[in-house]
Assembly symmetry: D3
Homo-oligomer: 146 residues x 6
Amino acid sequence: MKRTGIGKIALMLALNEGAALERHIEKFEEQNYMLYRGKVGSMETGKIFAAVETAAMREDMIRENYREEHALYHATMEAFSAYCRGQVDLGNVLRSTGLVFSIARGNLVSGDKSSGEWIAVVLYGQIGSPRQGFEHEAIGMGIQPV
Amino acid sequence: MKRTGIGKIALMLALNEGAALERHIEKFEEQNYMLYRGKVGSMETGKIFAAVETAAMREDMIRENYREEHALYHATMEAFSAYCRGQVDLGNVLRSTGLVFSIARGNLVSGDKSSGEWIAVVLYGQIGSPRQGFEHEAIGMGIQPV
Amino acid sequence: MKRTGIGKIALMLALNEGAALERHIEKFEEQNYMLYRGKVGSMETGKIFAAVETAAMREDMIRENYREEHALYHATMEAFSAYCRGQVDLGNVLRSTGLVFSIARGNLVSGDKSSGEWIAVVLYGQIGSPRQGFEHEAIGMGIQPV
Amino acid sequence: MKRTGIGKIALMLALNEGAALERHIEKFEEQNYMLYRGKVGSMETGKIFAAVETAAMREDMIRENYREEHALYHATMEAFSAYCRGQVDLGNVLRSTGLVFSIARGNLVSGDKSSGEWIAVVLYGQIGSPRQGFEHEAIGMGIQPV
Amino acid sequence: MKRTGIGKIALMLALNEGAALERHIEKFEEQNYMLYRGKVGSMETGKIFAAVETAAMREDMIRENYREEHALYHATMEAFSAYCRGQVDLGNVLRSTGLVFSIARGNLVSGDKSSGEWIAVVLYGQIGSPRQGFEHEAIGMGIQPV
Amino acid sequence: MKRTGIGKIALMLALNEGAALERHIEKFEEQNYMLYRGKVGSMETGKIFAAVETAAMREDMIRENYREEHALYHATMEAFSAYCRGQVDLGNVLRSTGLVFSIARGNLVSGDKSSGEWIAVVLYGQIGSPRQGFEHEAIGMGIQPV
């Protein structure tokens, strides 16, 4: 069977829609991946971090200990840094975002248990000035062992 | 007809494979997007920039003038900054990458001519230490008007 | 006739004073450059961005579309990053600024129509601790095709 | 006599405790170093800068002029950048810190008057999510001539 | 018994000398920490990363798998970013370094098994222009779960 | 008499040409400023730093001690960071520059002896892809007490 990286699993979870999204979720949940897809919009950087962390905790994707919380935080920080492509900020530099985030937890490569447990966070959405239509797409991903 | 952002068009061009990739290319070339997908691997940052620029020039995706070359350079820089998630470097910090890059040129949103011409560059691949298997996925995207 | 870059045109617009400033404006307005010079002071980064954007819109230096607003935003971001020389922040790192900003729109090089339309943003002023006299000069410039 | 750098003097001032701390202070005050050790905790970056500056002023470690204040500010900025290891921010990226800071003023190397006067700022503490126990240690140091 | 963070254990391993260093090593090896202290000097960033990784591998401080190598790499990157206090580079910006590095592996806090295994990397030395005596001290630390 | 900041003195030294340049130099040398103007072009970051440092040493603008060399280095680093507006690099990210640099040493504000001695470094030139005409202007300035 074809192997897929946890990064692509999280990316497709954020990018797919409708029936393709449902098939994607079903396929990788069968392969023991924990998957979550949420939405958040804000001019405040902290709201993006809080949305990802709250979802991961509520869905039991990370255990209640610091090692796992640390991995999730660093994955989110890497994803957000990438999403911003330079200055890591939103409202302070007068821009806003609305995005879909996805979280995937499981092997680094599907079907390869030797790679151990990892967590991937993807942010995909629109970033721009806080005026309707004055924005373009951005994407960011962070991956950490957990 | 459903509208798609130029970012998602470039992302799916880098992420899809096989028949899905062919359908994707066919669909958006019909909608007048110029699309290109290539591969490059290196420990030298400059090689990544050169691969994207050479392909875009050879495929006539940017015209031979500085305005368009400037837009492509900035889109590539944004994509590479995001891909690196922090320190924007490869061999200097002892890491290597092998990646697929995609370039898309056309309207910011499919079917919306009022948005004008834009260019999107996506980098998707494996980044890590220069030892086989000691690497994970990364992604980066930059979008500029052209 | 001697050619001048749009960067130097914007720099001299920010740096000159009195009669030299008037001659500078007259000379380059005759060569079809749009020029604006304003002032802003704040501990909030967002206020600097807002002052430049508001002036450019009000003076019709950028058209009401996202492509042009995007170019202005990136030019301002580059100018502000340069102005801060490292950490891109004001009040969060306990410093304040009072500055003159200038915006120039026209050919990349005076008299060279083949170079197309570009926009240059310059910030020049005093940056330092929010105590009178505890500050020194800084400058930043960003240039984008528009 | 063994020579010690002002950096190590400030580092040991932040890291030592109890009797070892007292001996350290006594030893280097005898060698004409000005030393200060304080504590600050916050989610606001500005509070860290303010705590260091206020202490240095109150203890007369810097004179009331801009040259010395500038040196202290840059030393603090370097120490805080190092402490954050990447994105230079606290609350905006949803993290908090509690730390000990130390300031040392004197020769770059103990017993070497030819090196002139320098100032060293060290930050050492815990950084992490604003939940008890979800944090780890960090350190940063900046050194400037004064 | 007093508890000590893995950060302070690694910091003191880099900063102590002579008999105090021997006592420090003995004390924390008894508490099941793996400790290593080495030296490296270079104008090439990659040499610093290579020295830390080679030592950790040779001393069996990280296992031969990607999860552990990833943790060591990120801890070294954080330490080196902090050490550079801004632009993360050596020879490219015409400076050189000679430093002691230390690596510690064990619980996040001594005597607290619930905190799991972590790795700390500390860099402490002299950074400056490549001329004798034109340099000052710097320090950096990175901590990751392993 | 009108007072001028050392930053504007260095900026005008880099930006002026011909008779205006000569008048500028004459005016501020009479006010006891040390002034230097040179040129350098390269794809290597280190060459820019070396050109500024070599000129300052040869012209006796900084004394042969580390405190003054440190001030010059930091002023050059700030100027170069600003000049690059983001990623602080040239050839590694496939770009090249040709620039005029200026150095000014004297009071922070002309005629104000209480402000002490400072040094300002300005870089002004063209940055872009290493193809003729594919470049635009950039500027950067750093100011440090010396």
